[in-house]
Symmetry: C2
Subunit: 91 residues, 2 copies
Amino acid sequence: MTELVGYFAAALTTCSFMPQAWLTFRTRDVRGISLGMYSVFTLGVALWLAYGVLQGAWPIIVANAITLTLASVILAMKLRYRNAERTTSVP
Amino acid sequence: MTELVGYFAAALTTCSFMPQAWLTFRTRDVRGISLGMYSVFTLGVALWLAYGVLQGAWPIIVANAITLTLASVILAMKLRYRNAERTTSVP
């Protein structure tokens, strides 16, 4: 039962970044997205992945590998599209 | 060593939501923030908290209680400010 709650929790927090990645890819609107958040979060998830590898815990490895990919993509879009945001924000 | 990596990972992924909450609070720009992401993520973190309680694992409880608070605040701001976003997006 507890295991099941954990797997369900992992599935939700991992999948949640899919709609964000898709929204950002579609709209390229990155003004409301925090660079600080995605920098720190991506680093944190990379460490979770390292933790999973050190523990040999496959559920942690798989969940964090997927989250790391999605978070990296969002971070890359933030870095790429923020220049565009600067030019368009000037009236 | 492995424990330390885990604690550091938890600290980073938890704290990462602080700059996002602050940015959203300051700018009220929620257009680029995915409602789907924060709905699913908040639910997922609530389940992680339940998992921590079921396991009696304090590090999981503490980290997810803080993340749940921050994610809920961001979700609430998304819900609150998206009406404003509708009126201002019309030229």
